[in-house]
Symmetry: C3
């Protein structure tokens, strides 16, 4: 059963990231199949890096389901964009939030299954959640969300720590997932809507350049 | 015999990409051995990612021939640039076109040899053809060709689909290669010379930013 | 004994690069845990790529020591920055110089241990030394040092060639390391302090853009 959850969540995460890549690609007026490239890289980048690091077969080569989910999500996004009057950056951030929250958990779990320690698993969760979006932003020459959004990586880490805490407390599987999802999404939506900014690690001598 | 073709085509592709990286590096006034770094990354990046994804030994570590081809092509490019009065961006695009067309095929073939399905193979061909040039553009802070050139990824995909179609029709090996090469080169040169632009995936509400 | 050296040097190199990433992250006003992300990528990027290319287990997954060193160094850097009145770019370059010189050697050694030829080993040393810093610059949207600094990659290559020459001459292990370190650091500090610029590979028709 655990495996089915895992598979299902990965598919959803892949689809969300594919959409976020497609939206940013459109926003940047990338022509032709360039949006498909950006969408695919965003959807598959984080998980690919995770599998390579863990020395596992790359997920979308082992199971082509993920490729179908990616291309399907991109296709749907493209169709909808053509009929939407106005695609704001907001939708892109929203799917990115959901994709990151899910990939974070998937990364931690896959890492724990491979027998790594918890600190490696949390690092792997962040890698999976952040890397796809980072490549999307680099390819599109957008300021990476890691730099732009104050709570981006903090939310990812908090989600990971929540999972770890619940996991070590022996809470059942489904609540680990829900708890982690809630924390990550809550923090990032909070930052988006109410402008939350963590004031840690801030320089004393502020300079705004 | 198939292997010899494969080896030979890979060497040619590596050399073309090495030259394209060197030309862009010069264009951007990168000093010292920086051009060698950019040239190497461009030449080896796509194939390296392909081999890592396929969980194969990385080609330039397994067979140092490719390193010699890379460094040799960079050296020749450097010597020629010193004696050319004017190196236009055009030459860079030309070698990039040829390199991409070849790497696309090499990527598809290597993937099929490893027993992947055709959809994975076509994705792998695009990865091999696009990734090296993408890293070149990112390092040199150039707008990636994926974004700039309308027909870039479309041509790569079309070449891959052509290969797949001919392959599935049972056409002999050499014609699969020639057909795919022709389509990719034809589409990209058409875009370069006559400004072809595919009008698919375009937003209704056009904004030129 | 060789292994202990190797382990110790890797830890020092990781710490230096972690600090350089943290410093640049702060310089660029990255908020929250974003600096931790940049610091980690800088510290672990080069070695991770090296291990993936060599098809070895990734070093920070196999031995979590490296993760502790990374996070520890980032934490110390963050604490110090809060109490330093002015963090100039100079410190960032200094730790980058030391990190690169060390990682270059570590990359060559690990590659030779895996039985590669010397030309592959030198390429691997440059990969290890350059890639982490390159990812740092790309994420922070800084002009990569490979492009900015004339002697950057030249120094790395010279250090590698020095190691290779001493190694082939049968000089004892510790002197290979010290010789290589000296050459790399000397060349880059020379470039920083006295503006050394190699005039190789320069175009005849100079244009300063």
């Amino acid at each position: 059963m655990a495996f089915e959850y895992f598979h299902f969540m990965s598919l959803i995460g892949v689809a969300f990231f594919a959409i976020s890549g497609t939206l940013l690609g459109h926003e940047k007026n990338i022509g032709g199949f360039g949006v498909v490239v950006v969408g695919s890289v965003t959807a598959l980048g984080g998980g690919t890096l995770r599998d390579i690091l863990l020395n596992q077969p790359v997920f979308w080569i082992a199971e082509p389901d993920y490729l179908y989910a990616t291309y399907g999500a991109i296709f749907i996004a493209v169709v909808f964009i053509r009929h939407l009057p106005h695609v704001s950056n907001y939708y892109m951030l929203l799917v990115d939030v959901l994709g990151m929250a899910i990939f974070n958990i998937v990364g931690i779990e896959k890492s724990l299954i491979e027998g790594t320690t918890m600190i490696v698993a949390i690092t792997m969760g962040m890698t999976t959640g952040i890397f796809g979006g980072l490549m999307r932003d680099v390819i599109c020459r957008e300021i990476p969300l890691v730099m732009r959004e104050e709570l981006y990586s903090t939310a990812c880490l908090s989600g990971g720590l929540t999972y770890a805490a619940l996991f070590l407390l022996g809470v059942s599987y489904i609540w680990c997932i829900l708890g982690s999802l809630f924390i990550t999404v809550f923090l990032r939506l909070g930052a988006l809507h109410w402008g939350w900014q963590p004031n840690i690690f801030r320089k004393r001598t502020v300079k705004n350049k």
